[in-house]
Symmetry: C2
Subunit: 214 residues, 2 copies
């Protein structure tokens, strides 16, 4: 089985933004409201952050399930891990996710500001200052034959797309506009020269875009 690099359940606005401007401790998605942007995901039975039983089991849920399936490592950008900019003052910050982050695999954080690896619940965070190809090689080795999830944000996905390293993408386009922020694309069709592309409207109002290499 090939060991894929996969984008899963990444959500952007109708105008292509994965997050708004002015990220802060209080607003991890900047001026975007993640409860609105990701409402399609929060109601599913398979939402990785779900703490109570229940939730929908329709199309949105089938796609949310693949967040974990067959994944052995994640790569994320520095801004997904933290609102801090510049060198670390201390290492008290351990991410947004509490004592049991939903990743449950090794996670490689791409950053110019290195710090020691640490483990929280079932997740170990590593900090790497490397090219997309080099961090992907490290993540593949850590994934032990399973796939690697490219966790975002939009800038990080763009960097891996520009390096032609992404095998499959599941991107949900939410029915709202952000106007500014970090942008994944101007149109989902921009990748059609390199990827097959299924467009799947969901009853929830989002449109799922499923892309895989030609």
């Amino acid at each position: 089985m090939p060991q894929l690099l996969r984008v899963q359940s990444f959500t952007v606005s109708a105008d292509g933004y994965g997050a708004g401007d002015d990220q802060s401790l209080e607003r991890p998605f900047g001026h975007a409201d993640p409860g609105v942007l990701m409402s399609w995901l929060l109601g599913t039975a398979s939402f990785p952050g779900r703490t109570s039983p229940g939730g929908s089991r329709g199309l949105d849920d089938h796609l949310a399930r693949d967040f974990h399936h067959g994944i052995g490592a994640e790569i994320m950008g520095a801004h997904k891990f933290s609102p801090h900019r510049g060198p670390w003052v201390d290492h008290a910050w351990q991410g947004w996710w509490g004592d049991e982050p939903p990743f449950r695999t090794p996670v490689f954080v791409l950053t110019h500001h290195l710090r020691p690896s640490f483990t929280l619940g079932a997740t170990t965070f590593h900090f790497v200052d490397a090219t997309p190809q080099d961090v992907l090689d490290q993540a593949r080795a850590a994934a032990q034959g399973r796939d690697v999830r490219l966790g975002g944000g939009a800038q990080t996905i763009r960097a891996f797309l520009d390096a032609d390293l992404v095998d499959t993408l599941h991107v949900a386009v939410a029915p709202l506009e952000l106007g500014s922020g970090t942008r994944l694309w101007e149109s989902p069709d921009e990748l059609d020269d390199r990827y097959h592309h299924d467009v799947v409207p969901s009853p929830s109002g989002v449109v799922h875009h499923l892309l895989w290499r030609r």
Copy 2:
């Protein structure tokens, strides 16, 4: 986590038949051509019978993946296991699937004609003459906390629906009519009083129906 009873990747014709008339050794689906009925599935990267790399990774593939995900046992009807009717003359028949059946879990075959359990590759077949509730209890115990797949055929799924034991269904409706055979339903809407229901047309031409209990 609840231990669900799930129908996965079950395919019916536009008029609701899961197989045609006159099943035989040469025609496991009777007058229906499984290569046409299930063409949406055969081309996916995750088709359980796939023997070579490649295949699509769009919507159809995302749904095909759930055939294995989280499944610890299968229940199937006697006609899915074999074209034979009546008591076994001998036990030479071991199913349609060759030396490595795609189930890779315990499989419970509902039949009035018992025979000893046997193991083939990673699959063990058990033969049970019991009510739907009783065989489900056995399959749940064997699944060790994972879900149970209800593998069909249509008559078997109907029996479990009538006993109100099915938690989720993924049924693909193929764009062809069979006119007769074993029927799952007259219309996918018949279950709407008991199930939520997402209708998801695929670019491949099938329409996926995803149902989960209200």
